[in-house]
């Protein structure tokens, strides 16, 4: 049915040849929509008098390519393009509204907020500006303002962009069922002509189902995403996590390997390592873990970082606790969202800074988010501090929300809870 099924291997080969200079870029025979968009925009700015409009189109195309490929290198190219647009015309509105979008990609969240505010002042009725504002506020941890911006966005233009943000905020505020309801609306509102957008919405619907412990619904959403957009790395990773949770480890390995072959992101490589470990293949697991470290070191060498992903990896796998802490603190300097607080909490805990860990874990749960990982971390920290009843409550909550929340950590949560319950029992018996 779908020619796109057979597309990827050929594309990868073509990209390889193009990189080696053996094939002109235009010869990427079966280019993706983003590739075509980039090519069209490059043509527009390649003439004698390139326009701001042309550079904005190019920036947009690179942003789309970044999403589609999972390759953050394109954010830099988007930034260069939009800078050229503003050089030609400093007041160019379409360029002004694209700037915060690019800053978000580059993880300059404060810069994104300032740029989004500038664009909003120019066009206060443009829903787009409330999208970039929502994202910037959410990453900076200013959730009340994020909610306000998202509300304005959905009032101005209900549709895929506003629904995805509304769903996310509902989930953060502890309303998983409400999040799922809007995530479904987002899927329906995604254009069939934008496979990546539709697949993105499906993957995030899958994530919501997974967080609620509904593996069947999650798997169905990921499978639909793969049907819409074959070999989508986020969907492969999501489905891999479900299969691992179900104990179907060979399938999980295959899915993660395919995901990593497309986008070698540290979190995917680490997850692959975890499945190998669960399957009893310690050698392969260690190879993946070493690869994560290698990617991290290379990134560090050029002054950039995978920050949160790596910090979590180090903390989760009890490797380099001080490095985990350093990365988590670096990350926390630039953003204030609950998942950064959570990462900081976990890294502090693993390096024995329990008081700081408890404060960060408290911040991570400040919205009442029903997320098993957040509760597991809070539970482990409370247990280390000797707050057994609080610890047991968090661990029970984590396992109640999603008993499969993490292949490596869920068994530890169960063991920790069992130990706490045994101790409580023993203490009661002791009193008697």
């Amino acid at each position: 049915m779908r020619s796109s099924r057979t597309r990827r291997p050929g594309r990868a080969l073509a990209a390889l040849l193009a990189l080696a200079g053996l094939l002109p870029a235009g010869a990427l025979a079966d280019a993706s929509p983003a590739d075509r968009e980039v090519a069209t925009a490059e043509q527009r700015v390649g003439g004698a008098s390139p326009s701001s409009d042309g550079y904005v189109a190019l920036a947009s195309a690179f942003m789309r390519k970044a999403r589609e490929s999972g390759d953050p290198g394109y954010y830099g190219r988007a930034q260069a393009a939009v800078a050229r647009a503003l050089l030609l015309d400093p007041d160019h509105y379409e360029a002004l509204r694209v700037v915060p979008w690019v800053r978000l990609g580059l993880h300059d969240f404060r810069g994104a907020l300032a740029a989004a505010e500038r664009a909003r002042v120019v066009e206060p009725d443009d829903w787009w500006n409330y999208g970039t504002l929502t994202d910037a506020y959410a990453e900076l941890g200013d959730y009340p303002h994020a909610v306000e911006a998202a509300q304005r966005m959905v009032d101005l233009r209900p549709g895929l962009p506003s629904y995805t943000r509304a769903a996310y905020l509902r989930a953060l505020y502890g309303d998983r069922a409400g999040a799922i309801a809007i995530a479904k609306l987002a899927v329906e509102a995604a254009s069939p002509r934008d496979p990546e957008g539709r697949a993105w919405a499906l993957v995030h619907l899958g994530h919501e189902h997974f967080a609620a412990g509904d593996l069947v619904a999650a798997a169905r959403a990921y499978a639909r995403a793969l049907d819409v957009f074959p070999d989508y790395y986020l969907a492969l990773g999501g489905l891999g996590r479900v299969r691992a949770a179900e104990g179907r480890l060979r399938e999980a390995i295959d899915l993660y390997r395919r995901a990593v072959a497309h986008v070698p992101a540290p979190d995917l490589i680490a997850a692959l390592g975890d499945v190998y470990e669960a399957a009893g293949d310690a050698d392969q697991a260690e190879r993946q873990y070493a690869l994560v470290e290698y990617v991290g070191k290379v990134a560090e060498a050029v002054g950039t970082t995978y920050g949160r992903q790596l910090a979590l990896f180090y903390a989760d796998h009890d490797r380099h606790p001080e490095e985990a802490l350093r990365l988590a603190r670096l990350e926390a300097a630039g953003r204030g969202d609950i998942y950064t607080d959570d990462t900081l909490a976990w890294a502090c805990y693993k390096s024995g800074r329990l008081a700081e860990a408890a404060r960060a874990a408290h911040r991570a749960l400040r919205l009442g988010t029903e997320d098993a990982m957040l509760h597991y971390h809070a539970g482990a920290i409370a247990a280390a501090l000797g707050h057994e009843r609080i610890a047991a409550r968090h661990l029970r909550r984590a396992l109640g929300l999603n008993p499969h929340f993490d292949l490596r950590q869920a068994p530890r949560a169960r063991a920790a809870l069992a130990a706490l319950e045994r101790a409580a029992l023993a203490a009661r018996d002791g009193v008697r």
């Binding site: 990189l19 394109y74 233009r157 995805t164 509304a166 996310y168 905020l169 069939p192 290379v298 992903q309």
Partner: protein
């Protein structure tokens, strides 16, 4: 950015993806930017399901006591659209709105809500065998709809579970498409007929040339940037759309619920627009209720053709789409001083003058305001389709002006050529609205309107056009009139039109 000769991955992360994982260990990798470990929700989004393409309203030639309204959605639908064939959105509120007292506010609304049933959840296929009836189990995702009439706040459900035909996949999947489409024509109480489903897009226009600096291929040599003249090319040819077609007895639409006594009866003229809305909700639920559907936000509207494309400035399109026609006074300046007139003068002004014509007026275009926002009165106290002073973008149809021709056979220049049953009195499928609007903007109104109203009739301004003078697919003589959709298996785009344009008497 000219130096960007190659589009493959600019950073080593992308290169690793291309090379495969193993190569990562061999390559001295240097990523050039931070990774995306934030949740990057979509910002760019198209919304074709909630995008009006064209709206038509005419007195039905084969049932002249009724009005037919066609509301089209989903632009440029590729017939070979598998595996994700186009469909109406289940979460979109589609509406046909009728103003019958001239205030720009809808007095009657026909609402259409669709629902898709997936017969086999394990399959992602549109169909698993030939579809030979609307209940055929081979059709895996049939869609039905509900029709609700709202009149001044009073809702009545006219029909539920109305069937629609599948899309026209090809000779194996949909072997007798006409029969499937005919089976989806549904009678509702009170003599109303409805149809919803895929159709050939009845619009015809040289999109490729008109939106390349207002190029008109037959007049390519007269353009500021001249090219060799040639026949127009139908940019919409071979593409489909999704149509909602409703035929309603006239006395159910007029303000006094009576057949008008004649064209000058104040109740004779109705204003029509089509819209699409999506649901808003509270981002945070305070009381645990779902709160979906508490309010609809209009995201698209359409009445007169090409207004959004040619009149409304780029930065105002979203705002225009969500605003109510009753408040269109605020857009009147763009009609009165149309950018298009300035563009025509810049691109064709010298040639028009050299050939004995004149530049178009670029300001004080009250003629355009009249035609497009209030309707046109006739001399001697008679009426074509005026609804008074309120400026609103509506298709204004005088329901007491009898049809002049069977569907598809009216004069393509409509009122310009004295065919009062055509555009801008309503809009018929065959009306060449592109040429009519171009000539109106360029002050080439023709002798009839020059004589009646003193409107300018410069020549050759009155001959311009895009060279696409008729639709590529024949219309049906009977309801729903809009042509059979192009099939996915075999269809032809960009059919060549004519080097001549419709003749103005």
């Amino acid at each position: 950015m000219k130096s960007h000769g190659r589009t493959p991955s600019p950073s080593v992360v992308g290169a690793c993806a291309a090379l495969g994982l193993g190569a990562l260990l061999l390559t001295p990798a240097v990523p050039t930017a931070r990774a995306s470990s934030h949740r990057e929700a979509p910002l760019i989004s198209q919304d074709p399901e909630a995008d009006n393409t064209d709206t038509y309203a005419f007195v039905s030639p084969d049932r002249p006591d009724t009005v037919t309204i066609v509301a089209n959605y989903i632009p440029l639908e590729e017939p070979a659209g598998g595996p994700n064939f186009a469909a109406f959105g289940d979460d979109v509120l589609y509406a046909i709105n009728i103003d019958n007292d001239g205030d720009g506010e809808e007095d009657i609304q026909y609402q259409f809500r669709f629902r898709t049933t997936i017969r086999n959840r394990e399959s992602f296929l549109y169909n698993t065998g030939p579809i030979t009836s609307l209940d055929d189990p081979n059709w895996n995702m049939p869609q039905t709809y509900t029709v609700t009439r709202v009149e001044r706040g009073k809702r009545s459900v006219l029909a539920t579970r109305v069937k629609i035909p599948p899309v026209n996949v090809g000779p194996r999947s949909t072997p007798d498409y006409e029969a499937l489409a005919a089976a989806a024509v549904t009678d509702l109480p009170g003599g109303v007929e409805v149809f919803a489903g895929q159709r050939d897009d009845p619009f015809f226009v040289d999109l490729g040339s008109v939106f390349d600096l207002a190029g008109l291929r037959p007049f390519n040599n007269a353009h500021l940037l001249p090219l060799d003249p040639g026949p127009g090319v139908d940019g919409v040819g071979g593409f489909n759309t999704h149509s909602i077609v409703i035929q309603v007895p006239i006395d159910q639409l007029t303000r006094n619920h009576k057949m008008p006594r004649g064209p000058d009866d104040p109740a004779a003229v109705i204003g029509v627009y089509a819209s699409a809305s999506r649901q808003r909700m509270r981002v945070l639920r305070d009381d645990g209720s779902i709160q979906n559907g508490e309010r609809w936000v209009q995201v698209s509207r359409l009445a007169e053709p090409l207004i959004n494309e040619l009149i409304i400035p780029l930065g105002m399109k979203d705002f225009w789409n969500r605003s109510d026609p009753a408040h269109d006074e605020r857009f009147a300046q763009f009609y009165r001083s149309p950018e298009l007139a300035r563009v025509v003068n810049v691109l064709y002004g010298d040639a028009l003058v050299a050939l004995g014509g004149a530049p178009a007026r670029t300001t004080n275009r009250d003629d355009l305001v009249l035609i497009l926002l209030t309707g046109v009165p006739l001399p001697g106290g008679h009426n074509l389709n005026s609804t008074g002073k309120t400026k609103a973008d509506l298709i204004r149809l005088n329901t007491a002006i009898a049809p002049t021709h069977p569907v598809g056979q009216g004069d393509p220049l409509g009122v310009l050529n004295g065919d009062l049953a055509g555009f801008p009195n309503g809009r018929r499928l065959e009306d060449d609205v592109t040429d009519i609007e171009l000539r109106a903007v360029a002050d080439g109104y023709g002798t009839l309107l020059n004589g009646l109203f003193g409107l300018p009739n410069h020549s050759p301004n009155n001959q311009i056009g895009d060279g696409v003078n008729q639709n590529d697919v024949p219309f049906l003589e009977h309801f729903p009139y809009v042509g059979t959709p192009n099939q996915g298996y075999a269809h032809e785009h960009h059919r060549v039109g004519s080097t001549s344009t419709p003749h103005l008497d």
